[in-house]
């Protein structure tokens, strides 16, 4: 009879892959909730819905329902990602004629792209950037100027917006590289103030009055005209929504792949301990430059598209306070977590718009919320999961 070799490692049955269903269920519930929240107008109903959401979240967490959902998302990301895209399209389809809700959705999508860029800088590389809104504005102003004065195709304008944001960001590279901590914070804060003041006093770029931005036109299809397919009338924001969706999916995939690649590993190492990382042969300067430039590129593209959606750019849209909002979205959702960023953006953009009574108080509430989060749950709503180092390692 063969004896079991005492040195052999015990046989452990591999855990099955997490089921798809908890994730799907969560998505369906979230979509239905979002549609209801966006459709309802009466303030009391909205407040009721928000209270319901908080209660449901807390109850689910207490009952242990959240863990399977998180596992499901972590392991079935591709399938659930595709379903999330369908969910957004479903919401958009429901509101196909409502200009304002579609505008809100486009805002959420583009802010998410910008925050993903910020996430690369802050969350992965640890580079402080308090001028996120300024780079957003650079992209927007690029589309304003290029659309009005040149015949550059509008899709190329988006790219140019991103490149210009990255380029201007590179002016800050030397001070950013040489400073740490609060000194680094000062550099980007000073830049944010400088850019806003510059845009305000400079008449060429419209001054405080701002510039009108021509709507997007791709191959003769004007994005600013309402669409009618067959008998169905669609708001003109649908075209922008489609493009923003493409942009978001691209940015999301980029960020996820980046995190899992050797680039992401290097960025994390550099963020956690610069001295140790450089002992291992990583060049911190190189990685900081990569992260900062890539992040600004994404922010710039999002800004360029948003400029065309809104049709108007002005220096007051891109102040230091707006940069702080982007940072608070990042903190709320969980630094380094792309899904967290998406959820936090929805909360930060949609809730004040719907709950008109708090519209005036929204800056105060964001600030207080972030303070509370930082004091009691610094990881944010959907914290970034611990990196999986071994392929096939299941949670």
């Amino acid at each position: 009879m063969a004896e079991a070799d005492p040195q052999a490692a015990p046989r452990v049955a591999p855990k099955p892959r997490a089921s798809l269903w908890p994730g799907v269920a969560a998505l369906v519930v979230a979509t239905a909730y979002l549609i209801t929240l966006l459709a309802v107008e009466r303030q009391q109903l909205i407040m009721g819905l928000l209270a319901l959401a908080i209660v449901a979240f807390v109850a689910a967490s207490w009952l242990g329902l959240l863990a399977p959902v998180i596992r499901s998302f972590a392991q079935r990301e591709r399938a659930l990602g595709a379903l999330a895209i369908l969910a957004v399209l479903a919401v958009a389809g429901y509101f196909r004629e409502d200009h304002f809700v579609l505008l809100l959705l486009v805002t959420v999508l583009l802010y998410t792209v910008a925050c993903l860029g910020l996430n690369i800088q802050f969350g992965y590389a640890g580079v402080l950037n308090f001028a996120g809104a300024s780079f957003f504005g650079i992209g927007a102003y690029t589309s304003a100027v290029l659309n009005a004065h040149t015949v550059v195709p509008h899709l190329v304008v988006l790219l140019v917006g991103g490149l210009l944001a990255a380029l201007i960001g590179s002016l800050l590279l030397l001070p950013v590289l040489r400073t740490r901590g609060h000194y680094a914070a000062l550099v980007t804060i000073a830049f944010a103030l400088l850019l806003k003041t510059f845009l305000e006093v400079n008449d060429v770029l419209g001054g405080p009055q701002g510039l009108q931005v021509r709507g997007m036109q791709v191959l003769g299809w004007s994005f600013n005209d309402n669409i009618s397919i067959g008998g169905i009338e669609l708001s003109f924001y649908m075209s922008y929504l489609a493009l923003s969706m493409l942009l978001l999916v691209g940015a999301f995939i980029l960020v996820l792949r980046l995190e899992r690649s050797w680039i992401g590993l290097n960025l994390d190492a550099m963020r956690l301990d610069e001295t140790a990382a450089s002992c291992f042969g990583l060049n911190p300067a190189r990685w900081k430059i990569t992260a900062f430039t890539l992040g600004n590129f994404l922010i710039g593209i999002a800004g360029a598209l948003f400029g065309m959606v809104g049709g108007f750019v002005a220096p007051n849209n891109y102040t230091f306070a707006d940069s702080l909002i982007l940072v608070s979205i990042l903190l709320l959702g969980g630094i380094g977590s792309p899904w967290g960023v998406a959820v936090a953006t929805v909360i930060v953009v949609v809730v004040p718009e719907k709950l008109q009574t708090i519209q005036e108080y929204r800056f105060l509430l964001y600030a207080l919320l972030v303070i509370v989060v930082l004091l009691f749950r610094p990881e944010g709503l959907l914290p970034r999961p611990v990196r999986r180092y071994f392929p096939g390692w299941r949670q």
């Binding site: 239905a32 459709a39 107008e41 200009h99 304002f100 505008l103 305000e200 006093v201 809104g310 049709g311």
Partner: protein
């Protein structure tokens, strides 16, 4: 359960005798010029209230109020929200010119008919020929002509211009400089400042070196107050010559005795002297609002009245309201007869010239400065 919530929200209220119609109002309800915005809002709200109390009205009106904070970017956001809401049929919009000029394209994009009640920049109606945009108050061209005429008649020859860098201030600079140069005045220096600038010592020190007799200010009350106060701090003894932007109680409150002897001009007669002015003031005070109607409250009332009249006539349909507004000719209102030209602009012929005397805006002709009992600084 969510379905039940959806059903509850879409269930309409029990049928009233009249259909509900929504109209809009946009003005600066917060920020430095909020007294004007609130005055305008109260006046528009008064108009809606009186109409709802009228049994002969065909519809019941609901006023949707949004705040543009006198900032162009906020204005575009709230204008987009108002125009994108298909239930709002028409709106009375904007006191600040910087916001009004930024939003004309939005109203045109969404097809919302608007009547401007307080912004004076000519470009708002004249830059484009948008059928949606109308205005009941006058433009700044006439007030600057009258301004230049008065100061040159008083014998002043040298001027310095301070204007804010929004289109409003730039417009004032453009029209005043042209008018005063034509009448023989000499502009020694022009200074652009931001609309929320705090410290003017740099500009004013340079102006002190130039030594003008009059400092013309093209901008709004908040920085007007600061400039006048800092003029005193630096010992500059020139005449402070302002525009309709400083015709506000907040200007006098902010400066106290320093406001004495400042000039201001605006189109339209003072509220009490308007054709329907007394009636308007009576009804306004009866409502016991916290704020006075300020300089443009009467125009806000007239704008809202015009909108309501038009909706009564053609129904709550945006396209038809636009078509009907275009035909407005010699329509009676509390500010006189309203006629829109082919750009939607009403002509307001009267220009009122004010000087601040003893803490009040006094018409020039009635003041002691005109009769010679008091003299403006440096009056030849």
């Amino acid at each position: 359960m969510l379905a039940a919530v959806l059903a509850a929200s879409t269930m309409s209220a029990t049928a009233d005798a009249k259909d509900k119609v929504k109209v809009g109002f946009i003005g600066p309800l917060t920020g430095g010029v909020s007294v004007n915005g609130i005055g305008g809002r109260n006046s528009a709200e008064l108009s809606v209230r009186l109409r709802n109390a009228d049994a002969k009205a065909k519809y019941e009106y609901e006023l949707v109020v949004l705040d543009d904070e006198c900032k162009p970017n906020v204005a575009v956001q709230v204008a987009t929200r108002m125009a994108a809401d298909k239930e709002i049929v028409a709106a009375a919009t904007h006191y600040c010119s910087s916001t009004a000029i930024a939003t004309v394209d939005v109203y045109h994009k969404f097809g919302l008919p608007v009547v401007v009640w307080g912004a004076v920049l000519p470009d708002i109606t004249y830059r484009n020929k948008y059928a949606e945009v109308h205005r009941v108050n006058g433009t700044m061209i006439n007030q600057n002509d009258a301004n230049a005429e008065l100061v040159t008649k008083l014998g002043y020859k040298t001027f310095a211009v301070i204007h804010d860098t929004t289109d409003y201030g730039k417009g004032h600079n453009q029209y005043f400089s042209a008018a005063v140069t034509k009448l023989g005045g000499k502009i020694l220096g022009t200074f652009g400042v931001t609309a929320d600038q705090q410290d003017f010592t740099a500009e004013l020190t340079q102006i002190k070196a130039l030594n003008p007799q009059v400092i013309y200010f093209g901008g709004l009350t908040p920085i007007g107050v600061r400039i006048r106060a800092q003029m005193d701090r630096l010992g500059i003894k020139a005449v402070f010559d302002g525009t309709s932007g400083i015709v506000s109680d907040a200007f006098i409150q902010g400066l106290g005795p320093l406001a004495e002897g400042s000039l201001a001009f605006r189109e339209g007669a003072p509220t009490e002297k308007l054709p329907g002015g007394k009636l308007f003031m009576e009804k306004y005070t009866a409502q016991k609002y916290d704020n006075p109607p300020e300089a443009y409250g009467a125009f806000a009332f007239a704008a809202m009245d015009l909108i309501l009249d038009t909706i009564e006539k053609v129904g709550p349909n945006r396209k038809q309201v636009i078509a009907e507004l275009r035909k407005t000719k010699d329509r009676d209102s509390i500010v006189g007869k309203i006629t829109f030209d082919d750009h939607g602009q009403n002509t307001v012929a009267v220009i009122t010239r004010y000087v601040i005397q003893d803490g009040k805006f006094v018409e020039w002709e009635d003041s002691q400065y005109a009769s010679g009992k008091r003299k403006l600084p440096g009056q030849p």
